[in-house]
């Protein structure tokens, strides 16, 4: 049986990663990154926001796109869950509804990479979502 990973192994990984980590620290300058906020309240979770969020994290990492994928609360569009708020560097935030894996893929391919808007935008007139 393989040995179960422990904190000691994590330390080894830390040393490894440390040496190749980019100087630019993620999170310090979120404005320069693609930011995705996934709505994670009861309504979102029940509609599959967890799968959507995992998909974004894995796919963006896989494609080598620097992005900040975080959780946020309910935006009040419970009928359109899972919803995400996408902010490209220097652009206004855009909210998408009904984001399943297929939609997420389309958003990455078209909106994030080519800066073309995709169907499914929820028109909003709010300033920011904090809750």
């Amino acid at each position: 049986m393989n040995k179960i990973k422990s904190l000691a192994d994590l330390k080894k990984l830390q040393t490894e990663v440390q040496s190749k980590i980019k100087l630019r620290e993620k999170g310090d300058i979120p404005e320069s990154l693609v930011q995705i906020k996934v709505s994670m309240a009861t309504c979102g979770i029940a509609s599959g926001a967890k799968e959507t969020m995992n998909f974004f994290i894995d796919e963006l990492d896989h494609q080598g796109i620097d992005a900040l994928v975080t959780q946020t609360g309910c935006m009040g569009y419970c009928y359109a869950e899972p919803t995400i708020e996408l902010t490209l560097p220097g652009k206004e935030p855009i909210v998408y509804g009904f984001v399943n894996k297929t939609k997420a893929q389309e958003i990455i391919e078209k909106h994030i990479k080519l800066n073309e808007l995709v169907d499914g935008i929820i028109p909003v007139n709010y300033s920011s979502i904090d809750n």
Binding site: K5, L10, L13, A41, I45, K50, C78
Partner: protein, 183 residues
Amino acid sequence: MKDLSLHILDIVQNSIRARAKLIQIEIIELPELDQLIISITDDGTGMSKEEVDRAIDPFYTSRTTRKVGLGLSLFKQNAELSGGSFKLESEVGKGTKVTAVFGLEHLDRPIMGDLTGTILLLITDPQNQTDYVFKHQTPNGTFELSTRQIRQTLENVPVSHPEVRLFLKEMIQENLEQIQISE
């Protein structure tokens, strides 16, 4: 909610919104008593007695974006449907504790689901400032995970780093397999 791991993810969001610094998630399996106990304890803002009484009302919420708040009521309903019980304790300024007891072998108990995914999502959020202590206890052993320890070990490497994420995922998975958690 399809499974218990989603319930946990959901209830923890309440603690995050209550500006908790430390959230403790504890799962205890007691086959002898046929019980599965899930408790989530935070040190957030807490609630007054009136708020505690209203919190499980599906038509009460502290949000302004919508008029319903189903998280706790769904959790309570599922616990009671499986022959268990539900308790909500809170004190203003001290924090809140949610405890749900499920019938371990009861047919109506939702499955555990992707517990690894839930823990991972919570602890690797890049903007997350909250600390977590996760504990899962079965007759075969106990698995404990503390994000404070992880952060200390990682020093300035972020937990959201892809390689760290992958490592943590495997670590959680292997440990949960080791103590043979119930489905």
